[in-house]
């Protein structure tokens, strides 16, 4: 079933949805606590510090300890949500995530804010473009990357009731809403959002919105693209990936992430073993980023809809 996703003028920042949804979760489930690594006013978890202060624990600039404290809370039946930037949550406490969260499969929810290249001109240290690769390789961890505000809320709700640790990749800046409010989200399914017959474009996170825009451009060129959003990087819907690849016999992957080990890697692993298909991975080409305006970053690092469309044209026309 293809979901009728369309690019709307409703611009929403995933981080705002993060704060709002935390509030919703706390009011529904008293086991939910927010642990902050001194970035709540960026991640928007500060809403909880003001409105439900008894569910907010400021952990300071010490991510290793924060991850461990979360493990202790989870071992006692609470559901801790971590608030920090993806770059720190993925890298600074990776061993803590491995040993006290992933190995014992504890229900810690890790919300990686400001993932990808667009981090508000902070540059290389604050851009996290390998989180999908790193997190996907961690046993027991579920990895999600929602495309818009609607899906961010639904993914957080699904993560909260999921047994075990979840990593959710979130972004900073407002972005067009593409999903209807009654969208039925479930962890572990790919979401076809546009039917087509010439080329299949897999995309994840907010890059799905740019892939959808690319599909519109391609339509003008007479190319019919089948767009599939992949909000769950792990566990990957392998049957869904194969079915979508079979529809067109040509595959592109698009992500605001390195081309190594992320969505492109995951799709290539499945197709390479089970249904070899001509494909091209689009993303950041094994390099670090820099601080610059959003549009300049998207252009320089090949993440624009035009770039996706041009690559699709090349692949289709051979």
């Amino acid at each position: 079933m293809t979901l009728a996703a369309r690019i709307t003028n409703n611009l929403v920042a995933q981080r705002d949805v993060f704060g709002d949804t935390l509030l919703e979760l706390i009011d529904e489930d008293p086991r939910v606590y927010v642990l902050d690594g001194d970035l709540a006013n960026s991640t928007k978890a500060d809403k909880i510090s003001r409105e439900r202060p008894e569910h907010f624990l400021e952990m300071g600039i010490a991510e290793q300890n924060m991850m461990g404290v979360a493990a202790g809370l989870a071992s006692c039946g609470l559901i801790p949500w971590l608030s920090s930037f993806a770059c720190f949550l993925v890298n600074r406490d990776l061993d803590q995530l491995r040993v006290v969260v992933a190995q014992p499969n504890l229900s810690v929810k890790i919300a990686g804010a400001y993932s990808g290249l667009l981090t508000g001109k902070t540059g290389k240290t604050h851009q996290e473009v390998s989180d999908i690769a790193v997190m996907r390789a961690m046993p027991n961890l579920t990895v999600l990357a929602p495309a818009d505000g609607v899906e961010t809320r639904l993914a957080m709700r699904a993560a909260n009731s999921w047994e075990g640790p979840v990593y959710i990749r979130l972004t900073r800046d407002p972005h067009p809403t593409i999903f209807p409010n009654d969208y039925d989200f479930s962890i572990g399914s790919v979401v076809p959002i546009r039917d087509g017959s010439d080329v299949t474009i897999f995309a994840t996170g907010v890059q799905t919105v740019r892939a959808l825009e690319a599909a519109q451009q391609l339509e003008g060129e007479g190319i019919s693209s089948h767009v599939v959003h992949v909000p769950t990087l792990k566990p990957l819907d392998e049957a869904g990936v194969i079915a979508a690849a079979e529809r067109t016999g040509k595959v592109i992957t698009a992500e605001d992430h390195t081309v190594i080990g992320g969505l492109g890697g995951a799709v290539a692993e499945v197709l390479g073993e089970q249904r070899p298909t001509p494909m091209k991975r689009l993303g950041i080409d094994d390099t670090f980023g820099e601080s610059a305006a959003n549009n300049d970053l998207l252009s320089k690092y090949g993440l624009t809809p035009e770039h996706v469309a041009a690559t699709a044209q090349d692949l289709v026309k051979g």
Partner: protein, 290 residues
Amino acid sequence: MGSQIAPERVKELRSLSLRLRRLVVESVYHAGAGHLGGPLSAAEMLTCLYFEVMNIDPDKPRDPDRDRFILSKGHCSIGLYSAMALRRYFPVEELKTFDAIDSRLQGHPDMSLLPGLDMSTGSLGQGLSPGIGMALAARLQSRDYHTWVMVGDGDSQEGQIWEAAFVAQRYGLDNLTVILDWNQLQQYGWSTEAGYSDLARKPPQDNPEERWRAFGWNTVAVDGHNVEAFIDACERAKAHQGEPSIIIARTLKGKGVSYMENDFNWHSKPLTEEDVQMAQRELEEQEAAL
């Protein structure tokens, strides 16, 4: 000072500590691998915690009101397993599966396998933070259990311990007690032996009492091999209000087996049959002398 412990009980605990040491030696010999020095330095403390100090019931290993214990120096797992086996969490026989395929008794503790094991550890410096989480959870859920975390001095070289120490003070977690097994040796580390230049192996200054106090912790110094004194230290730590406590326990690495004592080479080493026989003979003699 805390309550007096009957002399018979003290003798019993000392005897159990020696039995724990024998199980450690036997299990490491049987497995052909494992750590020795650290479990032996912690033997009295683990015995006292599991038999006297902690509010636990081996028949209810998941009781939400049980005291929690985390072995931050996770490589000393066989010491913890031996204490748990003696306390009848599982049969002593099962110690023979230590480090073997499909065993619940992994080289480093795995909480997902063994009921009663409260946290997985093994990568050093990581035990205190989950202890803070457990102590916070007690407060958030209005439960009055106490959380105990055993750290090593090598373990405490990791920065995370000090991230945790800093934050625990902020929450005034007086339901949390750390026990430092201060045996002053690690796998290789520093040395005062002749032959090394200052740059090569000279030890840094170690003053745990001052350091923990500077981080806002209540400190209690004790001889970690003295059963009565250690139990009293635990009672004083638990009774202290408004701050987390640390028991700084002076210990001897390898304690109880003469050729292992204070020798970093026995941090972890396979035993020969002769080694085992000598160790068991010494431990039996100590038991007979009680």
